[in-house]
Amino acid sequence: MGRFLLAILTILGLSSSALKAEEKDSKEKKFNPGELIMEHIGDAHEWHLWGEGDGATAIPLPVIVYSRDRGLDVFSSVHFEHGRKTYKGYKLDHSRIVAVNEMGTIDAIDASVNPELTDGIWDISISKNVVTLLFSCLFMLWLFISVARTYVANANGAPKGKQSFVEPLITFIRDEVAKPSIGPKYEKYVPYLLTVFFFILVNNLLGLIPIFPGGTNLTGNIAITMSLALVTLIVITLTANGGYWRHIFAMPGIPVGILVILTPIEILGFLLRPFVLMIRLFANITAGHIIALSFYSLIFIFGEMNVGLGYGVSVLSIAFTVFMGFLELLVAFLQAYVFVLLTAMYFGAAIEDHHAHVTDQHQTL
């Protein structure tokens, strides 16, 4: 166990001497809010804590790169020295890992990028977002498995502790989302909907906490929302019944001439549904982070003009950020709810009994 911890610490390379750098350069740089915001809402190979430029204090994270020519490389991002150095033939280019022609540790500016190799890189580093992802997964495992234990130990008793916080949400998802949207066969979808709901909720809330391990824009990352939407698409594809496919490829009771137009639209709709899920969550959460950071940036923009003005604006900025924080708290719940609600409705459409539906329509006609 001790050796394992030591190995992790070595990979992380958490040594203060490596983190400290000269502060002279950063003083001369002008404050750039766009860069700051983009850096915050994007991913990184180190966890930035405080400071800026080369004087920043950050937790270096492990880099895992695979390339067909060079094989698998695992090392700490501390070797990049915030992008100033190359290591094992790689360097950081705006927090993206690119391959360089020169091997060995040399200055990043001198190294020449190898575009052919760069295209063949598989970067599966434990980045800032991955750390948050793993943390939130562990947190969820701990929370729900311990709650499940309470349920088994406290069978048929009134809920208590964590149980009473989690239970209304679980019953809400089951009774208000799954049951009405999916129909009588809702039960087998409930575990998936619960996992998605709590995954989004936990990460949305984690994103609102400004200190480690929160503050990352995980649910506002297109890769995460795309993965969630893809899983939903896969589940729909696997569980959809014949009626659903027939309605997409050959809508019953429609002449062939119109089907030529309708079928492409239906196929587009089929793909558009998960796409909308992906974009909505991504845009909402990212926007929240951008707004909060913009308000903070205002302080420093005005502070650069005049220190007093900066302090004055900070009062307003903080007031607005507090307000936005409450709004984001609502959005955190709302977006998780909307995501699972739409997912449940898509599932419901996929397993709907179309035969009964069609006869109903004929009767009403």
Partner: protein, 164 residues
């Protein structure tokens, strides 16, 4: 745009970790929790149903109690009424009997009094006759004490006789 370009690494880790937590949570959290919730809801439903049933039984029992009570009351009222009628008839009978008896007694008493009165009158007549005799005797004795008087009387008596 770096922002809308999904990073392969993150997708990879997302699928790995989401798959693992989905499996683990489904097996060790959602299934036991949902099972327990269902059991508890069914338990609550059963208790509610049995409480409702008990309440209905209570209501039925109460209504039957009320019916019995009202029947008993009616019976009691009938009994009281009957008793009152009997009482009144007894009293009336007794009254008529008493009146008759009183009448009979009065009649007997009156007859008795009459008899006594007649006896008393007869007695009185006898007494008066005796007394008259005595008085007449005494008067005669008184009248006939002297020669003179005897002569006058005889004379008077003789005069009467002569007249006759």
């Amino acid at each position: 745009m770096e922002l809308v370009k999904p990073a392969f690494g993150l997708i990879f880790w997302m699928f790995v970790s989401f798959g693992i937590i989905f499996y683990l949570l489904k097996k060790y959290a959602w299934q036991p929790i949902l099972k327990m919730l269902k059991e508890r809801e069914e338990g609550i439903q059963t208790s509610l149903d049995s409480a409702k049933k008990a309440r209905e039984e209570m209501a039925a029992l109460q209504s039957s109690n009320e019916r019995i009570l009202s029947e008993a009351k009616a019976e009691r009222d009938a009994l009281i009424k009957e008793a009152r009628e009997i009482k009144e008839s007894i009293i009336n009978e007794a009254k008529t009997k008493a009146t008759q008896e009183a009448g009979r007694l009065m009649a007997a008493a009156r007859e008795n009094i009459n008899n006594e009165k007649m006896a008393a009158i007869t007695e009185l007549k006898n007494q008066v006759a005796l007394l008259s005799m005595e008085i007449a005797e005494k008067i005669l004795k008184e009248e006939l004490t002297s020669q003179e008087k005897q002569k006058t009387l005889i004379k008077a008596l003789l005069e009467d006789v002569n007249l006759n």
